[in-house]
Structures are given as structure tokens and as C-alpha cells.
């Protein structure tokens, strides 16, 4: 076996090892992204639950309407997750409420959680629900 053959074998081994390491890094990055997406989903769900608690009564005896966009302004949150030793990723929660029907009274609630993955890719987790009055 000549030195040239050894060097060629080493180069091939190096390429294989580099591929394996790249695979590990890809797995770790995907796990982090999945965790952040889950945290973003939880934050959006939290806002949806808050909108569910807003009073929206149409009955003449006790009419009330707290299901208004002004009650749910944009909010900055931190997407926290384990194993990073960092302060988390910042995200913005946006709420959109729109009337889709007067009879029966129905409103669409859409919550977007917008965050940036590692300073490069912008990701939005959205949740939509439809809510009736007098619930």
C-alpha cells in the first residue's frame, strides 16, 4: 500500500465522517425547530384561550362585548425550551378578530405567533377558531 493509496482512503473516510456529522447536526437543528414550533403553538393557543374567556353576550338583559381586537393587542413573548442555555427566542403574538355572521352571531379569531429561526428563516404558527356569542 503506497502513501497515495492511504491518502485516498483517508480522504474517503473524511468525507463519510463529515456526512455523518452533518446528519447529526441536521437532527439537532430539526429538534430545536420542532421545539420552537411547539412553544409558538402553545403561545398562540394561550391567546386563543384568552379570547375564549372574553364575554360576548348579545342578549338584551346583559349585553357585553369584550371580544374586541383592542382587548388583545400585539404581545412580545419568549419561546422557552430546554437544553439550550439561552434566553429563548423572541416571538410576536398577533390577534385578528373578524365578524363572519350576524345571524347567528359568529366571529373568526385568528392568532399568529411570528418568530425567527436562528436569525434567518421567519416562521408563523397560526391558529384559527370560530366563536359564537352567549357562551
Amino acid at each position: 500500500m503506497t502513501l497515495v493509496e492511504v491518502m485516498v482512503a483517508l480522504a474517503i473516510t473524511g468525507l463519510i465522517v463529515a456526512g455523518i456529522i452533518r446528519g447529526y447536526i441536521y437532527c439537532a437543528t430539526s429538534a430545536v425547530k420542532a421545539e420552537l414550533a411547539q412553544a409558538a403553538n402553545a403561545e398562540a393557543m394561550q391567546r386563543i384561550e384568552e379570547t375564549r374567556s372574553a364575554q360576548w353576550n348579545t342578549s338584551s338583559s346583559g349585553a357585553a362585548d369584550q371580544l374586541d381586537p383592542t382587548n388583545f393587542p400585539d404581545k412580545s413573548v419568549t419561546l422557552d425550551m430546554p437544553g439550550t442555555n439561552t434566553n429563548g427566542t423572541l416571538a410576536t403574538i398577533q390577534t385578528t378578530i373578524s365578524q363572519i355572521s350576524l345571524t347567528p352571531p359568529l366571529r373568526r379569531i385568528r392568532v399568529d405567533c411570528i418568530w425567527q429561526f436562528r436569525g434567518a428563516e421567519w416562521v408563523t404558527n397560526s391558529i384559527e377558531t370560530i366563536r359564537a356569542a352567549d357562551q
Binding site: L10, I21, I25, M45, E49, Q55, P82
Partner: protein, 178 residues
């Protein structure tokens, strides 16, 4: 002779690279495994909690003292270490989630017994009843949102640094009895 020396050097380099790659792989596996396990656990726990609160008959925030649940009186801040859920009007059937201050565990209790759901919980006031803007209420209110926040300290383990993180969600009871 020089061939043997070169071969041995190359062999040592290869062995070193293989060992380094193995250690690196182990570390990456540990990191990914921890993340996925915690993600799975939190998703399951939060989902169970959400389902139970969504469909419950009544839910109360309080404190677990001497093995018993103590709810808050009107006028008191609705924030404590435990959550009592009645699935029906039968008060003999209940579920209590609480942070056990003695050993910093997050537990679930029902008629069948108590199970530990998580450990290393560092905060005591895990549950609160809030209004739509996130303000903690001082009175029991049918429109309150149950806010859950668990803060964890993950001690340093093999090839993994210590870490602190929190799990937070809000859940609104769906069917409010008349």
C-alpha cells in the same frame, strides 16, 4: 522503518478521528434525545390538562396543604400550587394537579392514587385564575382562564450542561354550568 512510522501515525490519526466522531455523536444524541423527550412529555401533559379543563364541570385554584386541597376565599388572589378539577357534579370524583414543595415534584392525584409527572420544578405558584388580559383574579369567575406555569431546573448530567426552562399555557373551561 519510515513506512512503519508513517503507518502508525496515520493509524493514530484515524483512531483519534473515530473516537472524536463517536463522542460527538453521543453528545448530539443526548441533546436531541432530551429535547424530544421533554417535548413529548410536555405535549402529552398539556394536552391531558387541556382536555380535562375544557370538559370539566368546575375547576378551582388553591393550595395543597397537609395532603388536602384548600381553595381560595372570595377576595383572595387566585394563585396557588394546586388545581382541583371536578369532571362532573359528583365531588367524589376529582383530579388534583399540584406542585409538591417538599421534593419539588409536579403530581397528579385522583381517587386511584398519586403519580409524579415531573421533577425539578422550582416555582411554587404554578396555577392562577386570570382574566382575558392576563391579570390574576381575586374572585372566582366563570370566565376565568386557568394559567399554568411550570419552571424547571435541569441539573447537569453526563455530557449535558445544567439548564433552566419553563412551560406555560392558559386553558379556559368550555362548558360553564348554568
Amino acid at each position: 522503518m519510515p513506512e512503519i512510522l508513517i503507518a502508525m501515525t496515520v493509524f493514530l490519526l484515524v483512531v483519534g478521528a473515530i473516537l472524536s466522531a463517536n463522542l460527538f455523536g453521543l453528545r448530539m444524541f443526548q441533546m436531541t434525545n432530551t429535547k424530544l423527550m421533554v417535548t413529548q412529555w410536555s405535549r402529552q401533559t398539556i394536552e391531558n390538562l387541556m382536555n380535562q379543563i375544557h370538559g370539566c364541570n368546575s375547576v378551582y385554584v388553591g393550595n395543597m396543604t397537609n395532603g388536602g386541597f384548600a381553595g381560595f376565599l372570595p377576595g383572595e388572589t387566585q394563585q396557588g400550587n394546586s388545581l382541583l378539577i371536578y369532571q362532573t357534579t359528583d365531588t367524589n370524583k376529582y383530579i388534583i394537579y399540584f406542585v409538591n414543595l417538599a421534593d419539588q415534584t409536579f403530581r397528579r392525584t385522583d381517587q386511584m392514587g398519586t403519580v409524579i409527572l415531573a421533577d425539578s420544578v422550582t416555582n411554587t405558584l404554578a396555577f392562577s385564575a386570570q382574566d382575558l388580559s392576563g391579570t390574576v383574579l381575586t374572585n372566582i369567575n366563570n370566565n376565568s382562564v386557568i394559567h399554568v406555569m411550570l419552571e424547571f431546573y435541569q441539573p447537569a448530567r453526563f455530557m449535558q450542561d445544567a439548564d433552566y426552562y419553563k412551560l406555560e399555557t392558559s386553558i379556559k373551561q368550555r362548558v360553564v354550568p348554568p
